[in-house]
Symmetry: C2
Subunit: 272 residues, 2 copies
């Protein structure tokens, strides 16, 4: 059903706006994604919003028309509203013309098929939503299966994370768990746990990475706790040639992940 | 001289706060850096603030004591003030206890010694301060010489850029110029211009990169303009194995830069 909403005090407007806060997202099991590009990414992997909010201002983009049609066909609601109310929902002066409300979709660790992808990211106490979203985007680029979240990570369904993921959130399994459960699960099957460490003496290009590779990314400020480093099958360092002693967490994850991809490609071309 | 300031309406407080805006930074030729870690990075490459602002709240950190001493010895001012005024200057509820005011330090293209480093970044219309700061941090990690800024890039001296650089701003030459001047300068000497492109058919690991390598990073949303791509000596693509068609700009820069570093290391170990 398409509904037009014009009142600021409309309960739905308040409810949508409340989804900017974690506690409301958790209670409702819903989250917001903003912008046509991200919503189309979701649609392209067959994820449609429960509620599609769309500006009544402009002539809708042909892709927005498609979204409206498909959301309605799937039983979702479409809300048409003014730019002021979109501003209120998105807390932005220049809001995106399209906002989607999605059912959150965490994956239980027990439901993860580790052999479904050659690489998995394991984020430990990642605090920056930009980093976590970027990690998802890298995961999509390298063909990873998803991001396993341990310790106190930022909410993977926050607006900022979803935005930084550029829609990759919808392509990656999001697996919130804890260290003990993760390690127990990991050791029940195949899987190489790889950590980067300032204390490691092995260059990241030296080891032979074997699928599935689990790349453990430590907290932005503190890195990995020592006992986590010790649990790794492989500890490596990315060379630092200047004064810096570390890279941004998601940047380091990308450098590591492309090394794994490149090794696998090189072995493939050697007929291994 | 150490001065204590307690009044919100103190002209210096207003002036420091105004440095959060580009026009005031430009007019004064000054910028802000926040936090002990970044100020110590600057000190370690012999850059001291003109003005050091420090919280009168807590017992200063031993490194902050060193900063106070060295700033005074170099003829700078030290301001002691309360957390409320630090909040006002930094526009944060929980301000860093140490803020430095630095003379901005752009490098003229004509003053760049291209042979002083094997890698240079060339950022084209980079709009996100987090990306630009991260690029500086990557530059430091890979031993790059600096970041050449062309077209309409975000201010390299904004508080957000400085923060994301984690102090690498002070280790990298910052070279604002434009495309025509850059290209003219580049072609007067040695230098391989390398661009990543979705249209390229060559994998980024295939070419032989030669120093000095200039890595051209396109705008976050639009990538490189076609004529910029055409001017590159080498056009490569980073493989995308999922649905994503691109990586975050600074992440792509890191993947490229480590390939250049790794090739150089491999050639070094072969005695080339």
């Amino acid at each position: 059903m398409i509904r037009d909403i014009s009142g600021f005090s409309n309960p739905l407007v308040k409810r949508l706006r409340s989804l900017r806060e974690k506690k409301h997202r958790k209670r409702e099991g819903l989250f917001l994604a903003e912008g046509l590009r991200i919503l189309i990414e979701a649609r392209d992997v067959s994820v449609l919003p429960d509620i599609l909010v769309i500006s009544d201002d402009a002539r809708p983009h042909p892709l927005a028309e498609e979204l409206i049609e498909e959301t309605l066909a799937a039983g979702g609601d479409v809300i048409r509203t003014g730019v002021e109310i979109l501003s209120k929902i998105t807390a932005k002066d220049n809001p995106q013309a399209v906002v989607g409300v999605y059912r959150d979709c965490p994956t239980a660790l027990s439901a993860v098929d580790r052999h479904s992808a050659p690489i998995w990211f394991v984020a430990q106490a990642m605090r920056d939503p930009g980093n976590l979203g970027t990690l998802m985007r890298i995961g999509d680029a390298v063909g990873a299966g998803g991001v396993i979240l341990i310790d106190d990570c930022v909410d993977p369904f926050s607006v900022e994370t979803v935005r930084a993921s550029m829609g990759a959130l919808f392509t990656q399994a999001i697996v919130p768990t804890d260290w003990t459960k993760f390690l127990g699960w990991l050791r029940e099957g195949q899987g190489q746990l790889v950590g980067t460490s300032l204390n490691a003496s092995v260059d990241y290009q030296e080891p032979h990475y074997t699928a599935p590779t689990f790349l453990l990314i430590g907290n932005e400020a503190r890195g990995l706790p020592p006992e986590y480093e010790e649990a790794c099958d492989v500890r490596v360092k990315i060379p630092m040639l200047g004064r810096a002693d570390s890279l941004n967490a998601s940047v380091a994850a990308a450098v590591m992940a492309y090394e794994v991809v490149n090794q696998s490609k090189a072995r493939g071309s050697q007929g291994e």
